[in-house]
Subunit: 329 residues, 2 copies
């Protein structure tokens, strides 16, 4: 099934069930008013929501209304836990190579993961508000999973069963603020302002054979100002799969329902199908020509991120955002 | 006023108003069922909760019940944003000195801050569950503030007005997991398992002259297995005060209501009144004797953290936890 959240109804929005073709939707206050409420009690709400989805697919919900991506918050508008991995180590290796640094061998065995800002995810059509263009505005196209409660110490062999939903992410980054923050070793903070999500999140069964329980084997398409910048396959070159990322996050404590685990920028070895962020494009240019040529994003720029199934149908709806100059109040 | 959350009533607990002497309390479903609900709409709920507090103080709430710290979750049982600073730079300098490293001069001007796990704060009497003693179990006694909505770009000169509540924190740390995590530059993750809070959070006016709008000028007392390990003054040697920490966190995006901003381990130059974590004790030993003598915590150890007002009355109730061996399910 496909789920989303309308912006109306308060900070947590209003949970809606969306039909497979993303033409119609229905609110489900009788099951759960919000996505977090659904996730808090998924063993009950999951089957109830699936029953609603079946009726909606069959055209048997008379209270259905037209689906409008412009009306949406992120599927989970605010979350208690957003853990973003950097699971495509080939990308990390490339970034290091561009600045002449060695990749520690441990990076192939021990996942990179940072805790991100989850108090205000933004919707697929929301603007990316940034005060200063010189901060180096970039998108990062990623895949993310949303879990139920994961007990502390859960191993990768048991983690897949905790993946309840899958979505796409634009992990907006301010590239020129990153080096100083990483040098302090405390992780990203000011350099990761807002995270946007695809219109809908889907259950794993919606993905058919493309989902193997650990990775999503489809190209992730990033289009910048109308030009396709990349479509690497998210199932290829993912050094740490989602169950491994979940196990890493849960090593010393439980993860609560609604935890969002991101893949990091999707990237394939050699970037044959392009890149999912500008930083990678610039690294490739630096390695080839000694310096980057492609600038970061400007105010007014547009970024679209989507994933198509084998038949060419859009699975998650598209992230479609513009960068807007933020004015302090 | 003083506020707390009972464990009963679901994942977000039940908001209660507590009298100044922490003898009685009352639930306030007519104002807000949970602390997050109160913070989401503080301009309305704040005055309404103050009115309840006044009645409770006057003995005019017949539905009051005895206050029991053992029944409590953290005042905010789960939060969407937990930003922990390291504002007492003297502590950071000491840690560096113990390992023979220089403190970058920028550390005196640019705050250290990491994003912490906020999906499962624990109560003041909850056990500290850790699987492996060899991870180096330590407490960190801190002060924290809880904000309402803070617009992006809010300066330190305007940040104080967003501080709605103040509490004490035990930022449990797994010291032996920290070096490898910091080396990866992505911040703490597995090394920060659970964060515990004092029984109550209080409004700034409860602190009288001890709160100057930016710092809390009282000793923070840490007692380990019945022995006072330190009582440094939280108002002294705080390089970055709370408005500065809030401004740092809000530089590139808004902070949502219920954001918790921590001070980091309270520490005074030269540690004349002891330390608020074992790591600092061990650093002092290393500098004096070439190696640390005090071990980290063991299963069964007890840690108490509290703050007394000028008259000797306990302000926040005491954090009083024991370390327990965690067994995987």
């Amino acid at each position: 099934m496909k789920l989303a959240s309308l912006k109306k109804g308060g900070r947590d929005g209003t949970l809606i069930v969306v039909d497979r073709g993303m033409q119609s939707a229905v609110a489900v206050p009788e099951v759960a008013p919000t996505m977090q409420a659904a996730l808090d009690n998924w063993s009950d709400t999951g089957p109830a929501l699936e029953a609603v989805f079946a009726k909606l697919q069959a055209g048997r919900r008379e209270d259905a209304f037209p689906f409008d991506p412009g009306s949406l918050a992120a599927p989970l508008p605010r979350s208690y836990h957003w853990a973003d991995g950097s699971a495509y180590v080939t990308h990390v290796e490339l970034v290091r190579k561009a600045r002449g640094a060695e990749l520690p061998d441990s990076f192939w065995r021990d996942p990179l993961m940072y805790m991100g800002a989850s108090d205000a995810f933004i919707g697929a059509r929301d603007d990316i508000d940034v005060e200063d263009e010189s901060w180096g505005i970039d998108f990062e196209a990623e895949v993310a999973v949303i879990t139920d409660d994961v007990p502390a110490g859960t191993g990768a062999d048991r983690a897949s069963e905790h993946i309840k939903l899958i979505a796409l992410v634009n992990d907006v980054s301010l590239r020129n603020l990153i080096p100083a923050e990483l040098a302090k070793q405390f992780g990203f903070y000011q350099s990761k302002p807002q995270t946007a999500f695809s219109p809908v999140a889907v259950t794993p069964d919606e993905l058919g054979d493309a989902w193997d329980g650990a990775k999503l084997h489809l190209p992730l398409i990033a289009t910048w100002n109308g030009r396709r910048i990349g479509a690497p396959n998210a199932g290829r070159d993912m050094t740490f799969d989602f169950p491994q990322l979940i196990a890493h996050a849960a090593k010393t404590r439980a993860l609560m329902a609604g935890t969002v685990i991101g893949s990091g920028t999707v990237s394939n070895v050699g970037s044959p199908d392009g890149s999912c962020c500008i930083a990678e494009v610039r690294c490739l240019e630096t390695i080839a020509n000694g310096k980057p040529e492609t600038p970061f994003m400007s105010f007014g720029d547009r970024i679209e991120i989507e994933m198509l199934d084998a038949a060419g149908a859009c699975i998650f709806g598209s992230i479609d955002q513009r960068v807007r100059r933020y004015e302090r109040p």
